[in-house]
Symmetry: C2
Subunit: 299 residues, 2 copies
């Protein structure tokens, strides 16, 4: 499918892509560039890629697919570094969770003969680093493509095929819509999870070790997401700050409504809301986006 694929940033997502490429024989050669030498050594030792170096230009050179899989705040440096080394006609993509700003940043800075098509595989775990990746990470998960202005249809189809070979289902969407929807389905939930654990943590610090002990009452569910990569999520919230702020305001408004209903012992209202929210889980399971076993199948 490709001769040489270069993955910039071989963390959970990047290393899962590399593993998927090898498993499905989607490229003759997979190379990677990471800032730290120990990561470059690790991804070679673990046989995740064929070659790795902190010399990003060298790794990019001659690649027909380049995938940026590092935190959003690193894009600017990377683009300035690689823009002179991109092979004519190559496809450039990323795996970032926010689109609007980075798409125009990259569009402005790369040669016209490069197909810049942004990708967002909606998949991940709370773990970070190349040792956490696995080739099945994208199986049945959605991947959203957001083509840039200068990308041609043939390349979009090729990248779509690539993600499908990794197990993904593919949708095409513009940047604005993407950033809005993901603020609801992903960015708000993560921010809320961070906040709930942070709130519990502040209390724990003051006086109570029991918060860990009795976390099976509900808190533990939130700690999974709140264990996600701090730098990655810091960047996502800052990049999508307008949408995130709006949805946080809605969240607070609804929470105050709930608080009022509790204070007024409004049984009817509470029961009605909690019955509605029960239904959406069924829809999510039917859409294949979560498993049906109770308690996430924990054992």
């Amino acid at each position: 499918m490709f001769k040489r694929v270069c993955i910039i940033g071989c963390g959970l997502i990047g290393s899962s892509i590399a593993r998927g490429i090898k498993k499905n024989k989607l490229a003759t050669k997979v190379v990677s560039s990471n800032r730290s030498n120990s990561t470059n050594k690790k991804v070679i030792r673990l046989k995740i890629v064929d070659e790795a170096s902190s010399d990003t230009k060298k790794m990019v050179r001659g690649s027909d697919l380049i995938i940026i899989a590092s935190p959003l705040s690193s894009y600017k440096n990377i683009i300035f570094k690689i823009k002179g080394s991109l092979k004519k006609g190559a496809i450039l993509t990323d795996v970032g969770s926010v689109k609007k700003n980075v798409i125009s940043l990259i569009e402005k800075n790369i040669p016209k003969n490069i197909s810049w098509i942004s990708s967002h595989p909606i998949a991940g775990t709370e773990d970070s680093g190349p040792e956490s990746g696995f080739s099945q990470l994208f199986k049945n998960k959605w991947c959203i493509l957001t083509p840039g202005k200068q990308s041609n249809n043939k390349d979009i189809k090729l990248l779509e095929k690539f993600w499908k070979k990794l197990g993904s289902r593919v949708d095409v969407m513009d940047a604005k819509q993407h950033d809005y929807i993901l603020s609801i389905t992903s960015h708000m939930p993560h921010l809320i999870a961070y906040n709930i654990v942070n709130t519990a943590l502040k209390i724990k610090k003051k006086k109570d070790r029991n918060i860990v002990k009795y976390s099976a009452g509900g808190l533990r569910d939130f700690t999974r997401i709140a264990a996600s990569n701090p730098v990655m999520w810091r960047d996502i919230f800052i990049q999508n700050r307008k949408n995130t702020s709006k949805i946080i305001d809605k969240f607070i408004k609804n929470l105050k409504d709930l608080k009022k209903a509790i204070k007024n012992k409004n049984e009817k209202k509470l029961e009605k809301i909690f019955t509605k929210t029960k239904k959406i889980r069924k829809e999510i399971i039917e859409a294949g986006q979560d498993i049906s076993r109770p308690d996430f199948g924990r054992k």
Copy 2:
């Protein structure tokens, strides 16, 4: 251990206790009382209990352990119904998630010769009903006992032994402390989960079906808890409204701080908070309160 155990309300928790009693041979006979005849028939057909009837007095009569396992709002009716039928020296317990109000309600209304010792097994799934229960539900989970004023030490030890035989670890705590800690580890997380799904749902209703489709980005984690029993949780929030309100206020304050940090692009502050919250997950796993596999071991 007991001759006759009566479980009032054979839902997820009640039926799991009944199954555990049978599996571990903790009683000669297990009976149950449920409001609906179809539930009474079901628990007999599924061989969860030996006898079941909507005649609560009849079921309670002669029992040496009575367990109230129905929503908190039903306690008042139940107590008035059964108080004349309790066997002298019997142990009365419950499995409710809020203690302060119900403990004094029951204390005021039962004969002096009854040992009223409130229990709270911190265990459950998002499913409801007798068919969802299983005998291993309490394994390694904490059960908090809150003895009433007139319960004697011998009976507290016996009830403690009972929960341990069901697989629980047991702690003894007063009502005030219980209600405060659980508002942090359980009631707030549930309310937040309901609110996040409700917020997403309101947006979905307006214009977007994509919210289910892309829920694997984080939202799906919250839908599990937001699928819990609506009546049970309505009662919990109302009964523990003072603690819940206070912790919600703290939550909102912290969320506004986070929003501000995002608006000001305060990278340092965000990264610091998100790094701290990552640590608590490790502590929870080490305390045996969640599994260590990424993504809850979803497959």
